[in-house]
Amino acid sequence: MVLGRKVLMKGNEALAEAAVRAGCRFFAGYPITPQNEIPEYLSHRLPEVGGTFIQAESELAAINMVYGAGGAGARAMTSSSSPGVSLKQEGISYMAAAEVPGVIVNMVRGGPGLGGIQPAQSDYYQATRGGGHGDYRTVVFGPATVQEAVDVMGQAFALADKYRMPVVILGDGMIGQMMEPVVLPEPVDPTTLPLKTWITRGAKDRNPNVINSLYLDPEKCEALNLRLQAKYQEITATQQMAEIAYPGSQYYVVAYGTTARICRMAVTEARANGLAVGLIRPITLWPFPTDSFEKVMDDAKGFLTVEMSLGQMVDDVRLAVNGRTPVYFYGRAGGMVPSAEEVLIEIEKMTRGGGR
């Protein structure tokens, strides 16, 4: 593939190639729809660059292989879809606690339970609240296009290494399955990345390195938690990403991922009808881009959150707005995708001050 030239790629394959170009040299995963093109692509692509691909016996094993590979110094990744990501939460919690970097892709499908295989956004709580046991967070990206998914992959590995923590890319079945033109980034040679001194490569001429999350002394366990929280506060202050379309509007639709693209169509239509409506599109879901809300709050009269769930991100919108304007919600669930027409009706309701 030629650098700087647009190529047509399926979202999952583009993400996989972007991971390799971000220096990923280890992938372990387990088949689940709708993300299978990621492991399938990496099964031939990683060996080409001297990397390791493993089809694991379960999602549990896969995330724990990533924990091991990350601990040994590799840029390591796993991918799955909702039911599989539930299984991965054990390993993600250990990675957060032991401060081991890694990237987890979740191509979200409808739930709960086995759910369906159509796109959904109902894993927002799981992704943005840590997901597993304990008081931790993961950085979460919610890309809206295949290009953006490719772009955040490089950032995901960079932040994972910088903050020594797991980073989640929360896509949906649509992002994974859709083909779009993308410009791929220049490859990173992982041997040129800064040396990690904390990894387990053998205690030659130094004291042993131990990667661990067990703290039987509660004072030490609290100290770990305070250290993690300080890291999360720094990330919250410095790593928020969002797009604001039509700043200075009176009303805003708030949506991420595939839903944001549908909402953009509805906003365009509403503006053509003379309504002063903008769009806030979070790109980082954690840290949630509360700063973007502050930028528009002076003129804002209301926010409509639209999700492919029955209301999860809307909680973060309410926290960001903090009672200063009404917050409305519209969502579809179980793999149903809201249409621009449906969203337009909700926008019109909001501007009339109805519904909530």
């Binding site: 372990a28 493993i54 549990l60 896969a62 032991a98 053998g202 661990n212």
Partner: protein, 271 residues
């Protein structure tokens, strides 16, 4: 390792702490055989001269703190997942010597999938499997290897483990030896000096299976948990011999070095 004493002139060192063990007092109960198992592994690492490229994958159970006791790099794993973590470490750093140290709850209950599939893939790792027929760290509950009739806090008196309710003990070596990627599989016991010497030979072979690139090596060590068995250390050793060995026969189940191996069981030569 720095020493705070001077060797008397002409004196010869006949016994000392292996370099692969750290100078740390363990938390293990008096009478527990973990200390013997740790020492045997450390002696083997020293003899193979691989300490400075060895990574321990500690598991969950009494040996969770093993990372404090071995003088090697270590990564602590979730319950049962040590072979998966070891896979990630070894594939990332193929020149490393990677071993897991797991108990019977960790390996034979929650971690059955991970050990079987690590063997299936022929991972070049070594597993030290401590079978003491009980969950020690959590206070003496039934393990998959608990004997029929054995009393634990979840298979209480007067019946102990009832097969119709809780099944029969699982034999890990017999299962693992059926898997092509397992290069060396042996069961030994830590109940007397002769068996301890055999155990060390098996541990060395299991590491050599990894270092020579043959595949996964696993040594099951029949061990005592006198505290949860509610016995004196001496009685526990006798109980192991008279009750555990008949159910878990000792020997080498598979040895890559022996042509045509892979089935049956042979006594390892006394070391």
């Amino acid at each position: 390792m720095a020493r705070n004493w001077e060797r008397p002139k002409g004196a010869e060192i006949v016994y000392e702490r292996p370099e692969a063990l750290s100078d740390t007092v363990t938390h293990y109960c008096p009478g527990c055989t973990h200390g013997i198992a740790h020492r045997l592994v450390a002696e083997v690492l020293d003899e193979l001269d691989v300490r400075d490229r060895t990574i321990l994958i500690a598991s969950v159970g009494c040996s969770v703190l093993a990372y404090n006791y071995f003088n090697v790099d270590a990564q602590q794993a979730a319950h049962g997942r040590a072979p998966a973590v070891a896979t990630g470490v070894k594939r990332t750093s193929p020149g490393s010597v990677v071993f897991t140290y797991q108990g019977d709850g960790d390996l034979a209950a929650i971690g059955t999938a991970e050990i079987i599939h690590a063997a299936m893939r022929g991972e070049k790792i070594t597993t030290i499997f401590i079978n003491n027929a009980i969950f020690g760290m959590t206070g003496g509950q039934m393990a998959p290897t608990t004997l029929v009739g054995q009393e634990t806090t979840t298979t209480p008196a007067p019946t102990g483990r009832l097969p119709e309710r809780a099944g029969m003990p699982i034999r890990v070596c017999e299962i693992l030896s059926q898997i092509d990627g397992a290069a060396y599989v042996a069961r030994q016991a830590l109940n007397n000096p002769a068996n301890i010497a055999k155990a060390k030979r098996s541990i060395k072979k299991a590491f050599e299976a990894q270092i020579n690139g043959h595949g996964l090596g696993l040594v099951e060590l029949l061990s005592t948990c006198n505290v949860n068995w509610k016995m004196s250390p001496g009685d526990a050793l006798k109980w192991l011999e008279s009750n555990m060995i008949p159910v878990f026969p000792l020997g080498v189940f598979k040895d890559w070095a022996e042509a045509g191996s892979g089935s049956g069981r042979s006594e390892v030569a006394a070391g």
